[in-house]
Every structure is written in C-alpha cells, then in structure tokens.
C-alpha cells in the first residue's frame, strides 16, 4: 500500500517537475510576451497542482495536506489576475508579433479610449456613445 502510494507520489512529482521544465523552455523559445505568458503561467498551474498532490501524498498527515490545498487554491485564484493585468498591458504596448497572428478580431474595435489613464474604474474616460464598438 505504502509502496503504491509512493509510486503515485513520485509520478506526480516527476510530471510536475517536467512541466516546470517545459515552462522554462517555452519562456525561452516563444516569440512574444503573450505567448511567453502562456508558457510561463499555464504549465505552472498544472505543474504546481501535480507537485502539491505528490507532496501531500508523501507528507502524510492532514495538517500538511490542508496547507498544500490552501497553497494550490491561492495559486489558482491569483494566477489569472496577474496574467490578465500583464497581458492587457502587453497588448496595449504592442508587445505582439502581429505577423504571427492568424486572426485579430480586436483590431479596429474594442478599446477606443481617448486617453488611457490607469486601471481603476475611476480612471476610465467619460462615456462617449459614438465610440462604442459596433455602434
């Protein structure tokens, strides 16, 4: 029984570590910021989850398992927030290889802010009905 649990734990750890390596590889090989964010933040989520499962199996004891669960939950809650903030700024600052885009449906409509002041709702420009996308 314990031998089986150990094998499962090692398999999870190995898969998670391999995903961390692919995250690094993608970070170096991908062409622009947005693609690198896929590489950086995505195998991370799955990789970290697998590593946490492996560690929870190895460190038996409920207190440890709960704490690892909490780590995984925080990771899942916070990763999209930072990913979204960074990717939006990356798009606005033209860190996109336009020649690699198969489809770009954002070009033309979307953010037609007169002046972009910041990220808070209070920073948004006053309503301009003539600037609505599709309107």
């Amino acid at each position: 029984m314990t031998a089986l649990a150990d094998v499962v734990a090692y398999a999870c750890l190995l898969a998670g570590a391999a995903l961390c390596l692919t995250a690094g590889l993608g970070l170096v090989r991908f062409p622009d910021v947005l693609s690198r964010m896929h590489a950086g933040t995505k195998p991370q989520v799955l990789g970290v989850l697998l590593v946490m499962v492996g560690a929870a199996i190895r460190l038996d004891g409920w207190a440890n398992a709960w704490m690892l669960l909490l780590v995984a939950a925080f990771q899942l809650l916070t990763a999209p927030v930072s990913a979204h903030l960074v990717s939006r700024v990356a798009y606005r600052r033209r860190h996109v290889r336009r020649d690699l885009l198969l489809v770009d449906e954002l070009g033309g409509a979307g953010h037609q802010d007169e002046a972009y002041r910041g990220d808070e709702p209070g920073d948004a420009p006053p309503e301009r009905p003539d600037l609505r996308p599709g309107g």
């Binding site: 991908f30 896929h38 799955l46 709960w66 669960l69 999209p80 798009y91 690699l100 885009l101 409509a109």
Partner: protein, 188 residues
C-alpha cells in the same frame, strides 16, 4: 427587493465569513475551539474594516452541474496543458497565434469573473480584456492550426460558460443562455 436589509447583509456576509474562517483553520492546520473563535474574530475584523461589494445576487450552487464542470475543467487542464507543453518542446516552435472576441451571454459580475478565471486557467487561452457592458471577452489563443480550429476554441469557451451557468447561475441566467443562442460577436 423587499427583503429586510439586515437579512440581505447577513446572506452576503455569511459565506464570506465561513470562507475566511475556513482559511484561518486550514492555516493553523488543526481543528479546535480556540481556532474557530479566533478565526471568527479575525473574519469579523476583516469584514468590518475591508467591506466587499455584493456580487452573489441570485446565485445558487447546484452540486451535480458543479461536479460536471469540475470534471471537464480538470480534463481540459490536462489536455491543453499537454498541448502547450508540446508547443514548447516541438522542433519548429510556435508559428500561429490568434486574438479573438467571444460574445458571452451571462450577465452577472460573479459569473463573468468565473468564466474569465476558468478560461484563463486552462492553458492555451489568455484573457486580454473583458467588456462588462457588452459582455465581450477578448482572448489570446496560442496553438491554433487553422481558422476552423479558432472557431472550435471559441465555441469551447461558450460551452465552458454554459457549464458554469448551469452550476451557479440563477434561473434568469439560464434563460439568457437560450435566448441569446445564435447571436454572434458584433462585427467591428
């Protein structure tokens, strides 16, 4: 709404309170009355000092659709994780990406946030922007082979939204899923 203000406040605060106490207990790693009481105290302090806007209007949790969503989510996590990992490993490197807009149908802050989080967590799609007013989500897709593939991935986002609304949405949200069917993204 003719509900007693105190009752609505209680309905909004209790789940948050329970969540904060749960986190507190998990951090300590063991169950005891002292942990429960100190957790309640900390949660009360946090909620009084840092009040949150109400976002859970009209939501309910349906266990079976929630399990369906979670199951599909884990499967998606694995398949797309493998796909992105293969993009990083394969000899040619990445050649094609896409930026697309998807018209969502849910109309509640909480549901839209959940859809965006779920889409963002699944590898291969990244939320660039979410237009709350028009419910349009802008995505960056990483491994796309051709236009058909792009359409397939856009349709998949709507499927994820449908699963989430089934799990958490109110009756009105569920009805909105069907009335808005077939309505495409407003063309620029």
């Amino acid at each position: 709404m003719t509900v007693e203000p105190a009752a609505t406040r209680l309905r909004h605060q209790v789940p948050l309170m329970a969540w904060l106490v749960l986190v507190w207990m998990l951090l300590w790693g063991s169950w005891s009355w002292a942990n429960l009481l100190s957790g309640l105290l900390v949660a009360l302090t946090v909620l009084t000092l840092l009040p949150l806007p109400h976002v859970i209007d009209g939501t309910r949790v349906r266990p079976v659709p929630l399990l369906v969503f979670l199951g599909h989510f884990v499967v998606d996590l694995f398949t797309s994780g493998a796909e992105v990992a293969w993009q990083a490993l394969r000899p040619g490197g990445v050649d094609r990406t896409a930026i697309v807009r998807v018209q969502l149908r849910a109309d509640s802050d909480l549901l839209l946030t959940m859809v965006a989080e779920a889409t963002s967590l699944v590898p291969g799609s990244l939320v660039l922007d979410l237009d709350r007013e028009h419910r349009v989500m802008t995505l960056h897709l990483l491994p796309v082979r051709d236009l058909e593939d792009v359409e397939r991935k856009k349709a998949h986002v709507l499927v994820v939204e449908r699963r989430l609304v089934r799990a958490f949405g109110s009756a009105a949200d569920l009805a909105a899923l069907d009335t808005h069917r077939g309505e495409g993204v407003p063309t620029p």
